[in-house]
């Protein structure tokens, strides 16, 4: 996995996959079995069952109860993962302000002073350079319409909404180049609105920083 929480999201997806997969097999199996066993044959009459009494309805109420229990399991497991990704942001090692506009991502680095809107800020178009194994906060803004900052490999997606500042975070665990598509319809250039996340190994990132801010 390319991010620290990517594995949690994927394992939750697999948990749901196995649960609904089991239901799929059970229900399709029951339907297929009934269609074969109870197909129309000469001389055999359907059984009169209304299923309204509690005793009969138990045949569908008990499975519903099992559905409810499994639902709650998925939800509680989901609550933990959600908190990890979207609510409990660890302290940041690097903050980058990402401003979306039709049809680009503007990446603003605060520079050595760690403050935005000062003289040593650096703005890049569609390129986000980050060090591996460090917590990166993305401060998301939008200049015009709603865009959605999507890191498919890292399992992160967050809408950028004009008028709001939304903070998201990730910690990449594997160096490489990953795409940053926009995931929300944002106009005629939506298709192809794409940036790059470049995850550097620690030493390579140091070199990149030196190149950008030679004086510091």
């Amino acid at each position: 996995m390319v991010s620290t929480y990517g594995g949690d999201i994927d394992s939750l997806m697999y948990l749901i996959y196995y649960i609904v997969g089991a239901w799929f097999l059970l229900t399709y199996g029951a339907i297929a079995l009934f269609l074969i066993l109870y197909r129309r044959r000469e001389g055999r009459r359907a059984t009169y069952i209304e299923g309204n009494s509690l005793r009969e309805a138990a045949w569908i109420l008990v499975p519903c109860l099992i559905v409810l229990v499994l639902d709650l399991w998925i939800d509680f497991r989901g609550g933990e993962v959600w908190a990890k990704v979207k609510r409990q942001r660890p302290p940041s090692d690097l903050r980058v302000q990402v401003t979306s506009k039709q049809f680009n991502w503007e990446m603003l680095y605060p520079g050595p002073d760690g403050q935005f809107e000062t003289g040593d800020d650096l703005q890049l178009e569609n390129e986000l350079h980050v060090p591996v194994n460090k917590v990166v906060w993305v401060v998301l803004k939008s200049k015009d319409v709603i865009h959605s900052f999507f890191l498919p490999h890292l399992r992160l997606k967050q809408d950028a909404v004009p008028g709001r500042t939304i903070e998201a975070w990730f910690k990449a665990t594997k160096p490489g180049r990953y795409e940053i598509p926009c995931a929300e319809l944002c106009g005629f250039g939506h298709s192809g609105m794409n940036g790059w996340l470049i995850v550097h190994p620690a030493d390579e990132y140091e070199r990149w920083v030196k190149e950008q801010w030679p004086s510091s």
Partner: protein
């Protein structure tokens, strides 16, 4: 005094076929509008699929599709299928045709209002149609019309196309609000003697619930749409942050309507299936009352789940888990309905004519739609699959099943009642198997491209490195979708051939119990020769007290039969 049939004779052509107040003619008008738009919506899907498989090449029979035009296709396909196909067919056509017949009434409670509602929809359709042909073209901000994209013409380059889109939707809402009044008052006030609420066919319950959901949810959206129009034409800033507005307001208003709206479409579809399964299983529906309670529970819950469309929208992340909980719990009432359908098959005597095949197809397809909804409903999983093809595949499994599988099931089933002739079984079965197999060939692979991260509403997947390996799947989806469209030709042929040359239908060709089968095929204006009297519930199939395996709601039980019921039960 002249009989109703004689009055019918004197009615002019216009009063009979155009400005008719007869619920059955109005139902056919809704059907015609819905089928017209279904053809348009299907052709838009063809253009989209071609572009996705072979980006920026000439579409056979059309030409080049640019990204602007692609956004229009996406927007109008969704708008048309939800508002101009699903609602006109499932509510307009089936609701109008069946509610008065099933409750044993002569017509809807307010026939003129009924006529007004269908003509308001016709006006709305004309407005939507015009929007395709004005300079700039039709709306292209997504069928969800999220502002600010939709709130300022400069963001999309579409000015009047989007204004007309809002106007057409407003007219459509007005049409179905008026229709809904009839859908509620007719079953409440005009039921035949003996027909208590708990003897109503489930389809009527589903239509009533859908009408209530629509009425309670559409108000906020109409207010939202007015604000959107004002932002566009009057310089207000309800959704524009530079003037103090908030784009998320629209999302809340839209989805507060949007999720109940899903059930407005789904419930009538399920209602059709719930009528057909007992008939061809020769068995009572399993759990009539639990199904009704589940429907009402699902309806109420549907007002508490809307923000599951907005997990990553920027709303307070603390809201996600409560909405995730309600969303996933809404699976329970629907699970009950599905289990009840399966239990109905248990120990039945099942035959497989075309309506039953489509009903079982609905069940099979809807099940996958329901199960995959759990992925979307889980907030953390949604972080990844939100706005991907996984969602597209999911809602096509739910809505295509409710609209097309259930819609076809209903058409094949009630065609003899609507038009007085039977449809061809051979063509019907061919239509079913092609549709069922090709539908899955289109939409199962979409789950995989969605899980691979492919975003919705992109015109060219080849612009992304990580999506290029998925392109062969996109090509196969496109081929299957073109074949799926062609697979509807047997239906078109069957429909028109049967309309004029089909075998003449008897009153009750399927040996079914509900009241519509006691009326002539097709029923005249006024429906029944005499007011039916109802003695029992709608699903008394294979009842031990009678030798036949069906027992119509309006057949008086003979005293002799009552005496022999002990013997029959012993057999």
């Amino acid at each position: 005094m002249s009989s109703r049939a004689e009055v019918e004779e004197r009615v002019s052509f216009f009063r009979r076929y155009v400005f008719s107040v007869d619920h059955k003619m109005i139902a056919k008008q809704y059907l015609a509008i819905g089928l017209f738009w279904a053809v348009v919506g299907g052709l838009l899907a063809y253009l989209m699929r071609w572009q996705l498989a072979y980006p920026d090449t000439e579409v056979p029979g059309w030409g080049f599709i640019g990204p602007e035009f692609y956004n229009m296709l996406v927007t109008m396909h969704g708008t048309i299928m939800v508002f101009f196909v699903a609602m006109p067919i499932l509510l307009g056509a089936f609701g109008n045709f069946l509610i008065p017949l099933m409750v044993g009434a002569q017509d809807m409670a307010f026939p003129r209002l009924n006529m007004l509602s269908v003509w308001t929809l016709a006006l709305s359709s004309i407005v939507l149609l015009i929007s395709f042909f004005i300079p700039g073209g039709a709306a292209s901000a997504g069928w969800t019309g999220y502002p600010p994209l939709s709130a300022k013409p400069i963001y999309t380059g579409i000015n009047w196309g989007l204004n007309l889109w809002i106007l057409a939707l407003a007219l459509e809402f007005a049409s179905f609000l008026m229709g809904g009044i009839n859908f509620l008052t007719t079953p409440i006030n005009l039921r035949a003697p003996g027909l208590s609420m708990f003897r109503l066919p489930l389809l009527v319950w589903m239509q009533m619930t859908a009408a209530i959901l629509f009425m309670l949810s559409v108000g906020p959206l109409i207010a939202g749409a007015v604000m959107l129009l004002l932002d566009r034409v009057a310089g207000t800033s309800f959704y524009l942050p530079q003037g103090g507005g908030d784009p998320l307001l629209w999302q809340h208003l839209f989805w507060f309507f949007g999720h109940p709206e899903v059930y407005v479409i789904l419930l009538p579809g399920l209602g059709i299936i719930l009528e057909i399964l007992p008939v061809f299983s020769r068995k009572s529906i399993f759990g009539y009352r639990p199904i009704i309670y589940s429907t009402i529970a699902a309806g109420m819950l549907s007002f508490t789940v809307w923000a599951h469309h907005q997990f990553i929208s920027g709303m307070d992340p603390r809201l996600a888990m409560p909405f995730s909980l309600t969303t996933i719990i809404i699976s329970v009432p629907f699970a009950l309905i599905v289990f009840a359908m399966i239990a109905t098959l248990w120990r039945g005597s099942i035959s497989f004519p075309t309506p039953m095949l489509f009903a079982l197809g609905t069940l099979a397809v809807f099940l996958i739609g329901g199960l995959t909804g759990i992925f979307n409903g889980s907030a953390p999983v949604d972080i990844y699959i939100h706005d991907t093809y996984f969602v597209v595949a999911h809602f096509h499994y739910t809505l295509f099943s409710a609209l097309f599988f259930a819609g076809f099931a209903g058409l094949y089933f009630w065609f003899p009642k609507m038009f007085g002739r039977m449809m061809s079984e051979a063509l019907g079965k061919l239509h079913f198997w092609l549709t069922f197999l090709l539908f899955n060939a289109v939409f199962i692979p979409m789950f995989f491209v969605g899980a691979g991260g492919m975003m919705r509403r992109i015109a060219n997947p080849m612009q992304y490195e990580f999506l290029r390996p998925l392109q062969p799947i996109n090509v196969s989806i496109t081929i299957a979708s073109i074949l799926l469209l062609l697979a509807q030709l047997p239906f078109v042929l069957n429909f028109f051939w049967s309309l004029f040359a089909g075998q003449v239908a008897e009153r009750n060709p399927w040996q079914a119990n509900t009241l519509e089968w006691s009326a002539p095929s097709p029923p005249p204006h006024g429906n029944f020769e005499t007011v039916p009297i109802v003695y029992r519930g709608p699903y008394e199939y294979s009842h031990p007290s009678v030798p036949e395996d069906w027992l119509p709601q309006d057949r008086p039980t003979m005293p002799t039969l009552r005496q022999s019921s002990g013997q029959a039960a012993a057999v």
